[in-house]
């Protein structure tokens, strides 16, 4: 294994992670909800009484933050070189997979692990393994 020491940014990663953790802490202590992005978004497609506005407010914060962030700091570049057809395939897989898997990197990987859920640990290990495998196949076997 070869670590790319120039690209490695442990401090901003830790600090950004701490902000994500603080956001999850605020939501669970402040209104008793789990900060899982796929669940919050997917729940909009399944309307229940009194369950709509907090979802919209959270997603609005998520969508507006990049503009606010840009007023104070330069956001890091978002490099996305993947071919458009593969983007569509990836998006479909992420949409279907996170709903059947009942969570994503935030719901299982952050909130689930933080509350020591065995189910979320199994989920996190599964999507991490699949992510490593898919990247390996695409980059080193197919050569996309």
């Amino acid at each position: 294994m070869l670590i790319d020491t120039h690209a490695f940014t442990p401090w901003s990663a830790l600090a950004g992670g701490a902000l994500i953790g603080a956001a999850a802490a605020l939501l669970v202590l402040g209104s008793g909800r789990i900060a899982g992005i796929s669940g919050i978004l997917g729940g909009l497609l399944r309307r229940r009484e009194g369950d709509l506005w907090w979802r919209i407010a959270f997603l609005a914060g998520l969508l507006l933050a990049p503009n606010l962030y840009g007023l104070f700091l330069q956001p890091p570049a978002s490099r996305l070189d993947t071919d458009a057809a593969l983007i569509v395939l990836a998006g479909l897989l992420v949409g279907i997979g996170t709903r059947y898997g009942a969570g994503c990197t935030s719901g299982h990987g952050v909130c689930g692990l933080a509350r020591l859920s065995p189910r979320s640990l199994a989920a996190t290990l599964s999507f991490m393994a699949a992510g490593f495998a898919a990247t390996y196949v695409l980059r080193h076997l197919i050569g996309v």
């Binding site: 909800r33 959270f58 933050a65 692990l113």
Partner: protein
């Protein structure tokens, strides 16, 4: 009040994703590419998030209610089954292809990134396909 808290939480969450580098798909792929020039940064994102969130979840469980007296909506414990693992494997494959998971997808939309918007629309389509399949299964089993 719950909407204000949710809005602030969304803002914080998004800033965390940007600061940590999660909104840069190439950096995420550099983490997922163990056989390439590996960038371990994203493991630190998860570590930082869990270290801060874990005491909050422990406190939430102990209190049983949130500060605005709402019940804590923790997911009901369910089994580790094929549905969970299968779904997570599909998600992981998608994540490994583009380097984007749901949170960063929405940050890319907020940044006005065209391919990010394409990803987010495809992701929404995937979620609608799930809803359609769920409704169909429920109708046939009832």
């Amino acid at each position: 009040m719950p909407t204000t808290i949710a809005f602030l939480s969304g803002l914080l969450f998004s800033c965390g994703l940007i600061l940590s580098g999660m909104s840069d798909p190439a950096k995420v792929l550099a983490f997922l590419d163990l056989a390439g020039a590996w960038d371990p940064s994203l493991a630190f994102v998860m570590l930082g998030a869990i270290l801060v969130a874990a005491p909050a979840f422990a406190l939430a469980r102990k209190r049983g209610r949130s500060f605005d007296q709402q019940p804590i909506n923790l997911p009901p414990t369910r089994n580790i089954d094929a549905r969970l693992i299968g779904g997570c494997l599909l998600f992981g494959i998608g994540w490994g292809i583009a380097g984007i998971c749901p949170g960063p997808a929405l940050v890319l939309v907020g940044l006005g990134n065209a391919k990010g918007i394409l990803f987010a629309l495809s992701m929404l389509a995937g979620m609608l396909i799930f809803e359609y399949l769920e409704r169909r299964t429920r109708q046939t089993t009832c």
